[in-house]
Amino acid sequence: MTDIYVVGFDGTAHASRALDYASARAKKSGAKLHLVYVLEWSPFSFHTPEELAERHGRREEELARAQSVLQPVVDALTAEGVTTTSEVRHGHAGELMCEIAKDKKAAQIVIGRTGESALTQRLLGGLALTLAQASPVPVTIVP
């Protein structure tokens, strides 16, 4: 069975570094890539009535925008011979990455370091910290 690497990807520079690292590994080992684009969202947040009324439309927009970031990357990797799949999800990045890694029986999770200071990471609960504590599979953090 081929290994699957779950890669957190949102089109930013650090996510691109993580993807470069993961695709280089995948080419060598013949692993598949699964890109995950998480839109931060909580079912328990507060909104104005206007935001609620527009929510469904906004969600569609967000999904479309994320898809437009993912698609070219997926196509390019596929062209290079790396089997690549992707998904866009709303929710908590840490929780979702763990859940997806578990479901896919992934070999590892690869994410980029956002470059925030240790303090902001601690206060805001950075993704890297969450994964380091909760991930069911090995995690690679690409600087």
Partner: protein, 499 residues
């Protein structure tokens, strides 16, 4: 966008200059509005003498409706309470719907519209006029009102409009017109929907705006001498902030308050609980005063009937059950079945009235702050009661009052806007006109003395209930059918717990 803000500011600056300066600007505004407001108030609150007290028919209208829905749906507010909690907790949320409006979000938004000064100031008015006994009737009205809310929010989701761009519009104007036209009563439905919309605009400007501005100003001016007698200035500042959010579209301010308001609510209830705990020795006396007042035939302030009227009135004004407003906010939820939102919505009067309002009135009663005919009423009475144990709490209350007022105004500006666009059609220009009017009323509200403001707020909010409840009676068999369908799906496992 900057241009729009400039226009808004310009419009607002015109108001004070129009008013006469002879008796002070505030007095001039009060004088100008009084004659327009009074006839409306007298019509809505047409009262009949019952046991020597004037009983406003409209209060009976709301209570009877709440009792009817409670019986018709077999005490759904008690039977379904556990299911409501499970729904809000997200036990039935489909992970594939992540990113859509959750039951919790709809409830929180609707609550931020209802938890306002009604809970702080309105309860002060109720206890001042009705005595501690008003508490009992307020709680009862809150419990009964849960069934009204259940009914109207199911209909709100069932008959909402979903547009191509993904936005949703719902509320009484839609279920009245669409629901009744299904039964071949299109003309009646249309009439009720229009009547409701007109009253909703009035309610948005009254209870959702002027009352809020007025009472938060009352609290601020009692603490900050600079503002004393400068209601128009406070109103202007408030109006500009509201205008920046609703006209300028600066969501960040709204987002901050939406986060701070729940926090303030927790502080408020926490402080109330601490005061009740400190005065635990006085609890038995307070409870007996509440029961004595609730049933005493010839007690102070109009006796049991006076307590009942005040309790019911303030409860209805605070939790808006039967008024139809919350159904506008609840309509945006993502759900597989309209009935889920009914279950979620019935928690609203519970949190608003049975918990928060009761806290306020218990604090007033327990600290012995209530003095009949002392003139200390509304937020001043609540403030006095909290100050009895926490000196300086008046400042916390002032912050809470302004924030509650602000979030309620934001919610109601939206309810009013939805009614406005129902009447006049959608369109940027039309919407800005309403939003400008809304901001102007913030200034008017904080300039008037409490009497005319409360009366007008009450009148318009209660008038919404006339059309809404007629519609609810006619549509309730449909709600029952939906409820049956929902429980069949729950039983068959078509709708099931995810967690």
């Amino acid at each position: 966008m900057f241009k729009r803000i400039m226009w808004a500011a310009f419009g607002l600056l015109l108001i004070p200059s129009v008013a006469h300066a002879e008796d002070g600007i505030d007095q001039a505004i009060s004088d100008a509005i009084g004659p327009i407001v009074n006839p409306i108030v007298n019509t809505v609150f047409y009262s009949v003498p019952v046991f020597g007290t004037n009983f406003p028919l409209i209060v009976g209208w709301l209570v009877i409706a709440a009792i009817v829905f409670t019986l018709y749906f077999g005490f759904i507010q008690f039977r379904g309470f556990k299911h409501s909690i499970e729904l809000v907790r997200g036990d039935y949320l489909d992970p594939n719907d992540a990113g859509e409006v959750t039951p919790f979000q709809a409830l929180a938004t609707a609550l931020s519209g209802t938890v306002g000064l009604g809970n702080i100031a309105g309860v002060g008015v109720a206890v001042y006029l009705g005595g501690p006994g008003a508490t009992f009737w307020m709680i009862l009205a809150g419990l009964l009102g849960m069934a009204s809310k259940f009914t109207e929010c199911i209909l709100g989701v069932r008959y909402r409009n979903e547009y191509e761009n993904g936005t949703v519009s719902g509320g009484p104007m839609y279920y009245l017109s669409k629901g009744l036209s299904e039964d071949g009563k299109a003309a009646l439905g249309k009439f009720l929907a229009i009547f409701f919309s007109i009253c909703c605009i009035g309610g948005a400007l009254g209870g959702g705006n002027m009352f809020q501005a007025n009472q938060s100003f009352a609290q601020i001016s009692s603490l900050v001498p600079f503002f004393d007698g400068k209601g128009w200035l406070f109103g202007l500042i408030m109006a500009i902030i509201v205008g920046v959010v609703i006209i300028g579209g600066i969501k960040s301010i709204a987002r901050v308050t939406e986060k701070v308001v729940p926090f303030m609510a927790v502080i408020y209830v926490g402080a109330a609980l601490i005061i009740i705990a400190i005065n635990f020795a006085a609890i038995p006396d307070a409870i007996s005063a509440i029961f004595a007042g609730a049933f005493a035939p010839t007690a102070v302030a109009g006796g049991a009937i006076g307590a009942l009227i005040q309790g019911f009135k303030r409860a209805a004004f605070s939790n808006e059950a039967g008024i139809g407003s919350a159904s506008i906010a609840h309509s945006a939820v993502q759900t597989k079945h309209p009935v889920t939102e009914g279950y979620v919505a019935l928690l609203e009067p519970f949190i608003d009235t049975v918990v928060i309002c009761t806290m306020t009135s218990l604090v007033i009663t327990i600290t012995g702050s209530w003095e009949p005919d002392s003139g200390v009423t509304g937020i001043a009475l609540t403030s006095k009661a909290f100050e009895a144990n926490f000196s300086g709490f008046g400042y916390v209350l002032a912050v809470a009052a302004v924030l509650f007022a602000f979030s309620t105004m934001i919610s109601w500006s939206y309810y009013g806007l939805k009614a406005w666009t129902y009447l006049f059609g959608e369109g940027q220009g039309k919407e800005v006109v309403f939003k400008l009017i809304f901001c102007i009323f913030v200034v008017i509200g904080s300039s008037m003395s409490l009497g005319p403001v409360i009366d007008f707020s009450d009148a318009m909010i209660f008038a919404m209930a006339i059309a809404n409840i007629i519609g609810l009676y006619m549509l309730m068999p449909k709600v029952k059918a939906l409820l049956k369908d929902y429980h069949a799906k729950l039983a068959s496992g078509e709708i099931k717990k995810i967690k």
